[in-house]
């Protein structure tokens, strides 16, 4: 009898051990290692969004953020393809990890039948997102763009990309002028500085910053194309009105010189400090966050942390307005212009899938199908609302079919510390996401992102901004620049992978890094000689780069039209 009892008990015990296996077979908890190709903040352990992800998908994340140089970090990671982070975001050098064979082809998992959400997400832009492997000829997609696959008509409430930025207080001090040219821009900053050399605390203002650290050298290089009236094509100027899309690097062209001449003059006047050329990105953000930098050329997302810090501190007058500056007619002599070129301000263009930016799944990941299934489910409305808006009732509310936030709730979303408890930034920023308009369901007509929703853009705008826009008679900050033009058929040329000419490209970058700051800092007599020496030094690599880019642009155009 005793024996029987013990046998029964043993069986019961064994049975109870098996139960969890039966129930949770598909959801065996796993921890994914995640690498982000940019610096960031670790979320706190109690983060509510990550908790929900763990509950529904059984997936936890272990984040690693970039610390140090991106290319070197990626180069080191690529030395061991067996031990890569599961979710791998190569940041601005994702081409390296793609070419390095670190990522799996997502098309092995994504198709109209198994993953209808993901397929519908990429379908409208599939000519751009899906490419052909040069060697095997098969269709490949390694990364679902993290941004730019938007639903519905384009929303342009603010300038998220490149522009010349100026502190609002400078415009207010100048009597809310319209600024369209370099001369007007620097003239206003000079006059402001002359009267206000320091802020209220006695810290001296910095007139104009030029960030040059590593790949952020674009702040020094890129402005010329915009002054010529084009949206961001990176380091080349493309004439989209001509049939064969003439493409050339602009940094070595005569029409680039007036800009650097202007910077040289401003340097002589002390508007630009020499320290700007030895500044790290962290020092730059710290300087911007303290509200002492009056102007700079940059992209709005690049200094988003500084903007948030200024808003948190209530320094609204120190936040920035994006201006679309262009060359004035007499800035560039007619003979220096490309043939048939007309300057019209176009800083904005149609939304563009952020190709090859975002998470890829690495070849060493043990469970790609679970990540795909998670992303597929996350494109559903409830998850998108959770990521973008938060928890209903807690972070936002729905009134008469409209999504709204109170002023306090919205202020929270801008607070970096709050985000670490309540937002899944590190994961969501690099994951596929819906943007633009909500097109179906009860919430039709709302925006996916709180920052685009009318109620928030206008309703929760701080009084300073309302008053500020009122002086101009504008309703939104995007009104400072022209409305977006149609996206060029090749997309934006900065996205083109430069690996095939990487050594020449590295020369191109090195020569700019070493010589261009010296050109800007040259004494007025020396300027012409230094500029000529710079152009001569960079010409060989420019030629290789221009020719390569032209070929690639033509290939992209052909692919876009499905040829």
């Amino acid at each position: 009898m005793r024996k029987l009892l013990s046998v029964l008990l043993t069986l019961c015990l064994l049975g109870s051990l098996l139960v969890p296996f039966a129930v949770a077979e598909a959801q065996e908890p796993i921890t994914l290692t995640v690498f982000r190709g940019d610096p960031g903040d670790q979320p706190y352990e109690d983060n509510k969004i990550y908790k929900k992800i763990e509950e529904e998908f059984g997936i936890k994340f272990e984040f690693e953020f970039l610390a140090g140089d991106l290319n070197e970090t990626l180069g080191l990671k690529l030395q061991d393809l067996e031990d890569l982070p599961d979710l791998f975001d190569g940041g601005n050098s994702a081409e390296m990890i793609i070419d390095g064979g670190a990522l799996i082809n997502l098309l092995d998992y994504i198709n109209p039948e198994d993953t209808p959400n993901l397929w519908a997400h990429i379908e409208p832009q599939k000519n751009r997102v899906i490419t052909k492997d040069e060697i095997t000829g098969e269709d490949v997609m390694y990364i679902i763009p993290n941004y730019g696959l938007t639903d519905g008509p384009q929303i342009a409430n603010s300038v998220g990309g490149p522009a010349f930025f100026i502190q609002k207080q400078v415009l207010a001090w100048g009597g809310y002028p319209e600024i369209h040219t370099l001369d007007e821009y620097f003239d206003l900053i000079e006059r402001f500085l002359a009267e206000n050399p320091t802020n209220a605390d006695g810290t001296p203002y910095v007139g104009f910053d030029i960030l040059t650290e590593d790949w952020r050298r674009f702040c020094m290089i890129n402005p010329v194309q915009h002054l010529m009236g084009r949206p961001n094509d990176g380091e080349v100027l493309i004439d989209v009105n001509k049939e064969d899309f003439p493409t050339e690097t602009f940094i070595n062209q005569p029409y680039a010189k007036p800009y650097y001449k202007k910077l040289n003059e401003e340097f002589q006047k002390g508007i630009i400090s020499p320290d700007t050329f030895v500044m790290s990105f962290d020092q730059y953000i710290a300087q911007l966050s303290s509200g002492i930098v009056l102007g700079m050329f940059d992209q709005a997302w690049d200094f988003g942390d500084a903007t948030n810090a200024l808003l948190t501190d209530g320094k609204f007058e120190n936040t920035y307005v994006a201006l679309g500056l262009i060359y004035d007619e007499d800035d560039v002599p007619a003979e220096d212009m490309p043939e048939g070129w007309k300057i019209e301000e176009h800083y904005l263009n149609g939304s563009l899938p952020n190709l090859d930016r975002g998470f890829g799944i690495s070849v060493s990941c043990k469970c790609p199908e679970r990540i795909i299934a998670m992303w597929e489910r996350m494109l559903d409305d409830d998850w998108q609302l959770l990521f973008n808006w938060g928890v209903e009732g807690e972070d936002y509310s729905i009134e008469n079919g409209r999504l709204t936030m109170t002023a306090e709730q919205y202020a929270n979303t801008q607070d970096v510390e709050w985000q670490r408890h309540n937002k899944a930034r590190a994961f969501f920023e690099s994951s596929p996401k819906r943007q633009g308009w909500i097109l179906d369901g009860d919430l039709k007509g709302n925006c996916w992102e709180p920052g685009n929703q009318d109620e928030i853009v206008f309703g929760l705008m701080n009084d300073y901004d309302k008053d500020f826009l009122g002086h101009y008679g504008y309703s939104k900050f995007a009104d400072f620049v022209n409305p977006p033009i149609e996206l060029a058929p090749y997309g934006e040329a900065w996205q083109i992978d430069k690996a095939p000419i990487d050594k020449d490209y590295q020369d191109f970058l090195n020569i700019q890094d070493t010589q261009l700051p010296a050109v800007i800092m040259a004494s007025p007599e020396e300027f012409d000689a230094k500029w000529d020496a710079f152009v001569e030094a960079i010409n060989p690599s420019c030629e290789v780069y221009s020719n390569f880019m032209h070929e690639e642009v033509l290939k992209l155009v052909a692919a876009y039209y499905g040829e």
Binding site: G101, F277, T514
Partner: protein, 319 residues
């Protein structure tokens, strides 16, 4: 065994036994050296297989990802030596190494001699601790501090302008001509205390009787330093010098990488940084390995050369 030639009898020492017989008689010692030999073999010889990559083409990443890296003879070396800026990086590397070697050695000896003369124990120990603590700081922190100290509005410039030595602040961090000097100064600050340790220990091993004898002969303090202390550490100095000459191709990488910027690049880029920019970070391991081989060869030549000269001068040698 005897040798009967020339009619004389010579007795050989028993060590003329065969190699293996001798090895067998010392088997315990031989056994103890096995782990060390394995370590050296595994970590110093096995990786040399990687040198083969210097003769491979890593130019096309897409092919590399598929494991296709054809041999390309000496193309990687040719590419390296065809670039004028590679020679510039060699110059920078050697210049900064030499500056570090000379400044580092002399500042360490100077401090060690001074400390040796200090009779007050607490003071001596405090100075020693304070000077060697920076050795444990990460270079990232040291450079960040230097960037603040030498900024155009930093304390150094403030001091110089307030004292009236300079009219305008000097742009220390942005002018190439100051870069080597800055690196030297920072390295001395960071490593001087660490460098003294070995010299101080060498000085403690000098026989006190020598000092007493010198005193009796009427030597003053400076003469004792000159004729007893310095000769006493000469052999340590020579050995360290030879070892450091072998490291001349390593000017350090962190400090130049962190402190350098576009403006100073012509003076700050070392071979290591060049390899990083055009090799590792472009995933061209062929070029990176070729540069590594070049560095090793130069280092071996320098080391053997220094050793040879030292032998000729009748000093201690490494081998």
């Amino acid at each position: 065994m005897t040798d009967m030639t020339k009619g004389s009898t010579r007795y050989y020492m028993p060590r003329k036994k065969g190699f293996f017989a001798r090895l067998a008689s010392q088997w315990q010692l031989a056994l103890m050296s096995v782990p060390i030999l394995m370590y050296v073999f595994l970590f110093n010889y096995v990786p040399m297989w990687g040198w083969i990559n210097a003769f491979r083409d890593y130019g096309n990443r897409k092919l590399v990802a598929r494991g296709i890296t054809p041999f390309n003879g000496l193309d990687n070396f040719k590419w390296l030596f065809s670039r004028p800026d590679f020679y510039q990086t060699i110059r920078n590397t050697l210049a900064m190494s030499l500056i570090n070697l000379v400044l580092g050695t002399f500042s360490a000896i100077l401090l060690a001699v001074l400390l040796n003369e200090v009779r007050q124990k607490t003071f001596k120990r405090t100075v020693q601790t304070v000077t060697y603590l920076p050795h444990f700081l990460s270079m990232v922190i040291v450079v960040a501090m230097a960037q603040n100290i030498f900024a155009s509005t930093g304390p150094v410039n403030e001091l110089l302008t307030k004292l009236g030595i300079m009219k305008n602040p000097i742009f220390w961090l942005g002018e190439g001509k100051y870069f080597w000097g800055l690196v030297g100064v920072i390295n001395v600050w960071k490593e001087v205390g660490w460098g003294t340790i070995i010299y101080i220990s060498a000085m403690t091993s000098i026989d006190p009787a020598l000092y007493e004898a010198a005193s009796i002969d009427g030597a003053g303090r400076f003469q004792k330093i000159l004729h007893v202390t310095l000769p006493g550490i000469k052999s340590t100095f020579v050995i360290l010098l030879i070892m450091n000459i072998g490291h001349l191709m390593e000017a350090g990488f962190e400090i130049q990488y962190l402190l350098g910027n576009g403006l100073t690049a012509d003076f700050s880029r070392t071979i290591d940084i060049f390899v990083l920019e055009y090799g590792t970070s472009l995933m061209d391991f062929g070029v990176a390995t070729a540069a590594g081989i070049f560095k090793s060869v130069v280092a071996i030549i320098l080391l053997v050369g220094a050793n040879f000269i030292s032998k000729r001068l009748g000093e201690d040698t490494l081998v």
